[in-house]
Point group: C2
Chain length 314, copies 2
Amino acid sequence: MDNELENLVNGIADGSVRSLAGMITCVENRTTGWLEAMKKIYSKTGHARVIGITGPPGAGKSTLTDRLTRTLLDKGLSVGVIAVDPSSPFSGGALLGDRLRMKDVSALEGVFVRSMATRGALGGLSLAARDVVKIMDAFGKDFILVETVGVGQDEIEVVKTADLVMVVCVPGMGDGIQAIKAGIMEIADIFVVNKADIEGADSVVKDIQAMLSMSTDKGKKTIQVLKTVATSGDGITELVDTLFQELEATKKKAGRQRDRIKEEIIGLLEREVSRLIHKRLDHNDKLDVSVDKILARECDPYSVVQEITDDYIK
Amino acid sequence: MDNELENLVNGIADGSVRSLAGMITCVENRTTGWLEAMKKIYSKTGHARVIGITGPPGAGKSTLTDRLTRTLLDKGLSVGVIAVDPSSPFSGGALLGDRLRMKDVSALEGVFVRSMATRGALGGLSLAARDVVKIMDAFGKDFILVETVGVGQDEIEVVKTADLVMVVCVPGMGDGIQAIKAGIMEIADIFVVNKADIEGADSVVKDIQAMLSMSTDKGKKTIQVLKTVATSGDGITELVDTLFQELEATKKKAGRQRDRIKEEIIGLLEREVSRLIHKRLDHNDKLDVSVDKILARECDPYSVVQEITDDYIK
């Protein structure tokens, strides 16, 4: 590990916010030595509670994150916020507002906000987000809120790594149930119907409850459906109380933690293997010869891949 | 290869549409022997021209695909359509209409339509789509249109595998330029401003042209921006003419084909290596021991991954 990263690791232990930001950047950019630095801080992780916040665009997730952050601060807890921008190359400007607004919170003592872009995250967004969570955790944050602005599979993978997942819905988004489709049901620990002052909030709550009661996963605990108005703060106290209760309940489930660590190892492993493969192929002109043969239809990509794996795997 | 797949491979050679559908299903489900079947048909691929069609929701991609299909049919060409549904768990019902409407085309002689869901595609959507393209190609389709309904990174990866990528825009989608953001610029070979009868079409064309002229990629050829009204058919003839010209031009670029084959090999390789590692880990309780150590913070996931790669990779 070079001096810069060593200093950052030490700085994090000393509570330097500048070091926290610096180390995240180094790890995101895979600066030489990042892996050694991550190994070094790992023993200091495990304290923070991680909450994933997801839901369709316009549900008020950012405002809710803002409220949650302030409420946690009032309780004397320190907070890290990871805001994940969507990968969608078509949704542009609207998000800027969110990120700008989030700066209000980041100016508060005890809050650290980091935005992450989906695009370009080396080795996948969910792995990159896990790294950032760990760094904030090692820094000593009590709570880490991971808010995904996007709605793609990538973003779902990100919140899945949290201790607790909050799915935010709103009234008036077309069919209430249609809005919360496959993939979300399974990951939700708490449902929040935000903008509950709008007409139709109660019917959304009912829709969600009906959907939950139909769920085949009988062994699962009851999932709460709460109403909030993030802009006014209505329902936030109840939401935070519920969050604490649920976190206490999940703490006891060692199984969930085991599964998450296994998932992480497999994710890291795939990234590492892919890196090793790329490195080898870059220094090997055999691939070019194979491509020539494939272009001439003398060979096929599947057979080439079998040959390479035979070469590479013990 | 078992009998069923052998029959399907033979059926494809005989032009059986039922075999075409059956083989796609087998390959999607990774039915035992699928790889041997793919190897077998590979020598028959390379004839079809593949066109990727992408753009924001509501741009009229499906209607455009419909029009293109009919125009190609009129020229005596056979067409395969691959419609990729988005992975977004939040966008539900709206898409059904598209898929239902597409059935009109699929009833026509010489057209084969296949929908693919993002979720659950084994080993990644772009690899799965490549497989389907190859099977349709081996079947003898002259043109294969790959339409992505979604807007995520996954869908971008899918159209990137095409010979030619058409990006569809529409007037009145907020900031014209914002709508076509990073990731799209680099992959577009042709821009289509659809719904060109709506006010603001010309300004979208100008925006795109301005953006293209600012592009730093100086060596690149001029990218055309065309106007269409898919519902009425206006501009479709010009679009098809341009498609043919561009396809003729890209044909000469062997480099692009080489790059695509390389990318495919690397994708297949990552999937295969990952599959092999999963298989080994499933039959090994070492992983559970490591997870215990990590939970006790005696060890970290990064070191575990290094050990595993040292064990498995030559």
